[in-house]
């Protein structure tokens, strides 16, 4: 029961942050009824998806300090489970998603065990390797459509809650928002849980952590599994939202890196970090890409700026945008 209490316990957050979070939440709740373009809605959905990916990544990458560049493999497992089960056996989203989650988490335990014997850069490169191996397997596996990918059939009768097929995007938006709130609460609970403290202690100093009875290897694997759960669920959602999945899109290195980058830009190891990161990069990607690339014909300028911002933040404040906020706050306190 204390876990639930922990999830709702925001007492350790500064008031200013809670105020902004409350305003942000109110805005998100009301967004569909505010005047907005459909592109803005699509961008908001991307924002929520990447926030959730980032929250998951943050559990192991931020709180645990383990640079994971292989999250896309779990997006793939989630998405493919939902797609395959729907196409072959007409299994609704709400049943296939927990199964996808279980498969992804199972896989994360299997590869997490050897992965976490590695440290630092070796670990980071190995996560890339495992993700690419899985992607390559999916690309030639006929059962899941190989490199051709899978297309989810339209079931008709919109809105179709069973298979998560809607004509209007606000259905998807609210479902994601529900997951987003749930995700936030789980992160908050995690922060306050024994595992959360232990993981941060491991990041601080692994030897000290071990001397305090922490099984560092196992703790990392557990946090990795929890991180995987986030990514897999959003992967399942992605399959339904996009109606089409291909290994190249959802299991690529690009996606893995993007997930990590957003969380790092916002601030790895802080609860709001991934959300801040997604709220900066997702609109940038959508709008700047459209303005500079599609309309001004300056292909690449948007990503060039994006790279510049990343370099600047990394050089100025290794803890990301949220780190800047904290630094400002610390200075004011002094």
């Amino acid at each position: 029961m204390e876990a639930v209490k922990n999830a709702f316990d925001f007492a350790d957050m500064p008031k200013s942050e809670l105020t902004i979070a409350g305003l942000g939440m109110a805005f998100l709740l009301l967004f569909p009824v505010l005047p907005h373009s459909s592109f803005a809605m699509a961008t908001m959905i991307q924002f929520l998806m990447f926030s959730l990916y980032g929250m998951g990544w943050n559990l192991i990458g931020g709180y645990g300090g383990q640079v994971d560049l292989g999250k896309a493999q779990y997006v793939g497992i989630g998405a493919y489970t939902t797609a395959v089960m729907m196409i072959r056996w007409d299994v609704p989203f709400w049943i296939s998603t927990p199964i996808g989650l279980a498969l992804a988490v199972g896989w994360s335990f299997i590869i997490g065990y050897p992965l976490f014997r590695l440290k630092g850069h070796y670990f980071a490169i190995a996560t890339i390797a495992t993700s690419l191996v899985l992607k390559d397997l999916f690309e030639v596996w006929d059962f899941v459509g190989g490199a051709r990918g899978l297309e989810l059939p339209l079931k008709g009768d919109f809105p179709n809650w069973l298979y998560l097929q809607f004509r209007e995007d606000y259905y998807y938006f609210y479902i994601l928002l529900g997951l987003f709130v749930l995700g936030l609460l789980v992160v908050n609970g995690f922060r306050h849980s024994r595992l959360g403290y232990q993981l941060r202690a491991i990041k601080d100093n692994e030897d000290v952590a071990k001397s305090l009875g922490i099984d560092a290897h196992w703790s990392k694997i557990k946090a990795y599994a929890l991180a995987t759960a986030y990514v897999a669920v959003v992967g399942s959602f992605h399959a339904c939202y996009n109606f089409n999945i291909e290994p190249e899109d959802i299991m690529s290195l690009d996606l893995s890196v993007l997930i990590a980058m957003m969380a790092m830009l916002g601030g790895a190891g802080s609860m709001w970090g991934p959300i801040i990161g997604a709220s900066i990069l997702v609109p940038m990607k959508s709008y700047l890409g459209d303005w500079l690339g599609g309309q001004a014909g300056l292909a690449g300028l948007d990503l060039l700026l994006y790279g510049g911002i990343i370099m600047f933040i990394a050089a100025a404040q290794p803890r990301g945008v949220y780190g800047i906020v904290e630094a400002v706050r610390a200075r004011r306190r002094k």
Binding site: S16, A40, A42, A147, R148, R329
Partner: protein
Amino acid sequence: MRKVAIFAAIAVLAVCLMPAMAPAAPKEIKIGVIYPLTGPAAAAGRELRAGAELAAKIANSAMDGIDMTMAKNAGIKSLGGAKLKLIFKDHQGNPQLGADLAKKLILDEKVVGILGCYYSSVTKTVSAVCERYGVPMINGTSTSPTLTKRGFKWFWRTTPHDKWFTKDLFELLVGLTKGKVKGVKAVPKAEIQKLAAACEKTEWGSNVSIEIKNFAKEYGFDLVANILYAAKSPDLSSEVQSMIAAKPGAMLFASYTSDALLMIKTLKSMKAKPKLIWGQDAGFDKPEFIALGDDIDGILTRSVFLPSVVKIKPLAGQVNKLYVKKMGHDLDGASARAFTGLQAWVYVLEKAGSTKPKAIQAAANTISIPGKQLVVPWFGIKFATKGDEIGQNVLGSGLIGQYQKKGDKMTLQVVYPFDMATDDMIFPFKGY
């Protein structure tokens, strides 16, 4: 903290204040066009855009000297001379972005319909959006066979797809053995009995690979190597070694530009000597590929339009002249098909006499555009309404061209269909 608050507020405002566009002006018909204008296929995107723009220009103004009904009057006659307005969007090769852009076009810009998207993977997601919203979409340039296997009610494709193109190849191979090819005596079948294929491991490439496998069986050829390779690979020597070791008569490829270049260079370095090399368009008809010069003399590529078509089709020459004026070079497979895709839109709208989706749907399902109206050498445009390829143009056909060096200039000559051949085929390929 305050800074973040302000920043967040600005970001939030920027997102929600994107104004919803004003409703369409009465005398204007908006068509959303989604192409890869930036990203790896930006060069193709430029051609596609120019092709569609040229078609719109011809439809919107009365032009002399072009033997097309849409050139006769300004705008859509049945809609009171309403003009077409193209709204271009750039999907950058990203299917998710494509789908988002489609929503933007449908909901914000209130387009009547969609044209696009070149990449089959993007066409897939965009057409799924159109299907959900009941907005018609015509596709002129995506060749994945699966696109018309989905039974969509709002999706029509003018271009032939990879299955047809692959079939063309096998018709050509059979034709070679029977002496049907211009300038080539009947070739003993044993010479080209063995085939080796290398296709990139993507949605497109693996579909082509499957088609090659199926047709090889159907036409009685031996596929001695059927390789799927990782696209954008830093090394293709192992693939080429395996192909050469299988001693094939013909080598078949489905590759994009950088792989195609590396493939030819690797083939050359390993002194490959097949009797015939065929490429499934894409990387095999890009300027940088053509710049390989002597190395590609005699290589075949499938296409739907080659500049030499103007020799046999005067209308193509008329349009090509305008295109050269606009872009400085000839129409190619991409621009000619984008042109034809938009042309199909014009004829469908003309027939529908309305911008209501239902009317457009009915018009598209019953339209029949004769081949002499088109720049591409097809029999016409008529969409299948039943069977397993709903929405597919049944009157399309492909071409197979061969690179032939004429003086200093590399040209592409039609060698298939046999009755359209513009020059003698070079056979066998001279080898490296």
